[in-house]
């Protein structure tokens, strides 16, 4: 009898051991699969970038940056596209950043917790989820035809500003939330008003976090194509908008806001859509420039955030 029991226990033990081994094996298999998936994603990102660089390599010269688009692929360049992109981004920056920061400060510092601030919050979250092309339709109906702004740099800049706004608001709020309450209390204690507290302390100290959001938003605006196509941006532009800064007084003019334009991703889209392979080389070169810009900007944003996290100890 006793012997039987011992055999039983031993059987059980081997059973349990094999079970444990099996489960440990599952653990290792999953760890392997997880690592594999993540490495594949990283490789995809690399392949994507290298593919563009190799395909577009023949166009990497100064002429590509200083030539207008042309019927001949080898003579075509992206001058009007990168100038257009830069001018549009200037409008976007000046429209979205002050408005976004103000909205973020309002929601965090001023708004009372009631149905109204909830409503604003729900709207901000929802706007972040609205497809970008819908913003294009909004701009087409409102800016182009409603306000009669036409298909100009101003319209495109404002459209992209609408897209960027939720990103800036969310980043501002997160940055502000990280500031401890006693900073504000100290400022109030020496007689600062609410706005002084907000401007001199809250916004100052959340500067890094806000900057991260702004950079990520701008990076997204550079690559955003669909809404700008929807408002009717031209795809073939062989002229530059009037220069924003002049040599004669008043040195700054705003005529460029009303100029027609094209932007980098639209130029790229236009070249991909053509059947000739030679234009696909141009598209790849443009794509390499866009992706380089966005990767650099996103990388910078990640770096800033990392530094903030490391440096600030309240």
């Amino acid at each position: 009898m006793a012997n039987d029991k011992k055999v039983d226990i031993e059987n059980n033990l081997t059973l349990i051991r094999s079970l444990i081994a099996k489960h440990k094996r599952h653990d290792h298999i999953f760890a392997g699969v997880g690592m594999f998936v993540i490495i594949s994603l990283t490789i995809t990102l690399l392949v994507l970038f290298l593919d563009l660089v190799f395909d577009g390599y023949p166009r990497f010269n100064l002429d590509f940056l200083t030539n207008f688009p042309s019927r001949r692929a080898t003579a075509a360049g992206i001058l009007s596209a990168w100038v257009g992109s830069s001018l549009v981004l200037i409008v976007t920056f000046f429209a979205a950043v002050p408005l976004g920061i103000a909205a973020g400060v309002y929601l965090e510092e001023y708004a009372k917790k009631n149905w109204f601030s909830d409503l604003i919050e729900i709207n901000v979250t929802n706007l972040a989820g609205v497809p970008s092309i819908i913003y294009g339709l909004l701009a087409l109906g409102l800016f182009v035809y409603g306000f009669g702004l036409g298909q100009t740099i101003l319209t495109a800049g404002l459209t992209l500003a609408l897209l960027m706004l939720p990103i800036v608001i969310v980043a501002t709020r997160e940055a502000i939330r990280a500031i401890p309450i006693h900073i504000r209390e100290a400022a109030y204690a020496v007689g600062a008003t609410k706005w002084q507290v907000s401007l001199h302390h809250v916004i100052q100290y959340s500067y890094g976090g806000i900057l991260t959001g702004v950079i990520i938003g701008m990076a997204r605006a550079i690559g955003e194509t669909a809404p700008v196509i929807t408002i009717g941006a031209l795809t073939f532009i062989a002229f530059l908008p009037p220069s924003p800064v002049g040599l004669e007084p008043p040195f700054i003019n705003f005529e460029w806001l009303e100029a027609g334009f094209t932007v980098l991703p639209i130029q790229m889209f236009n070249w991909i859509s053509r059947p000739q392979m030679a234009f696909h080389v141009n598209a790849a070169a443009t794509g390499a420039i866009i992706i380089l810009l966005t990767l650099l900007m996103n990388g910078l944003a990640i770096k800033i955030r990392y530094n903030i996290r490391k440096k600030i100890k309240w």
């Binding site: 995809t44 601030s117 092309i133 087409l140 408002i231």
Partner: protein
Amino acid sequence: MAKLENTEVSPRLAKNLRRNVLERCIEFGLLCSGMFAIFITLAIIYILVSEAIPFFQHVSLYDFLTDTVWTPNYSIKHYGIMALVSGTLTTTFIALLVAVPLGTITAIYLSEFATHKVRETIKPVLELLVGVPTVVFGYFALMLVTPLLQKIYPDLTTFNMLGPGIVMGIMIVPYIASVAEDAMRAVPMAMREGSYAMGATRFQTAVKVITPAAISGIIAAYILAISRAVGETMIVAIAAGQQPNFTFNPVESAATITSYIVSVALGDLEHDGIGFQSIFAAGLTLLIMTLMFNIIGHAVRKKYAERY
């Protein structure tokens, strides 16, 4: 007392008065900025609806929803949104087939398996992947993924829904991974410790304890992904062809709601024409679809949210 009434306001108080007025003005300005979000939402709804109303006076809502042919440029015009919805749903479905497994595995790995150092290295890479512009992904789908697929399946046409669907899937993996990972990391440590104390392995803990506990956040991640895929424009506009086609077959070419809007916008638009109005009707359909998914996602998160 009388003396005080005569003096207007003492200089110190006067400054305060100006200060208070200024404060109120600033507060009002900030309030307006905050309300801007509401204005944008209202403007979107107003523009889409007001431009779509004349369209629906031409085309009955019944035809719009049941007709399966979309031929706004032919002499016999048909406006059956289903021809576009089918393309949207097919590409979205393919994208989800790619993104849901990959995203979930990545999330579980990052949250339960990866060491701190690995996580801190991988997350920035995922963020970079989110930052890649969609027009570049479109190039990738047309020039790299479709030719690769053609080697496996030679009958595949240059424009098809499979290639862009897969690329769209790769694009939304980071969205799923980051939202699902946040949900898993929010599960309290005590639950993991309890599971380990019972002798469970990491994998068992992840699948049987953490995933059920974080299920609301994980499902919300999936729904966010659906809404991204439905609204994605450039990848399909570049690589799926822009010919409306009522089909759920991924190897055929088709237009989605978004790529139709792009193809119309690229042509010359007659303001007031029915072609112009049709893109607003299509946009309204798209908005309603994404809104539906967002609301479902919100409801799921509310309903299944575990309170610890």
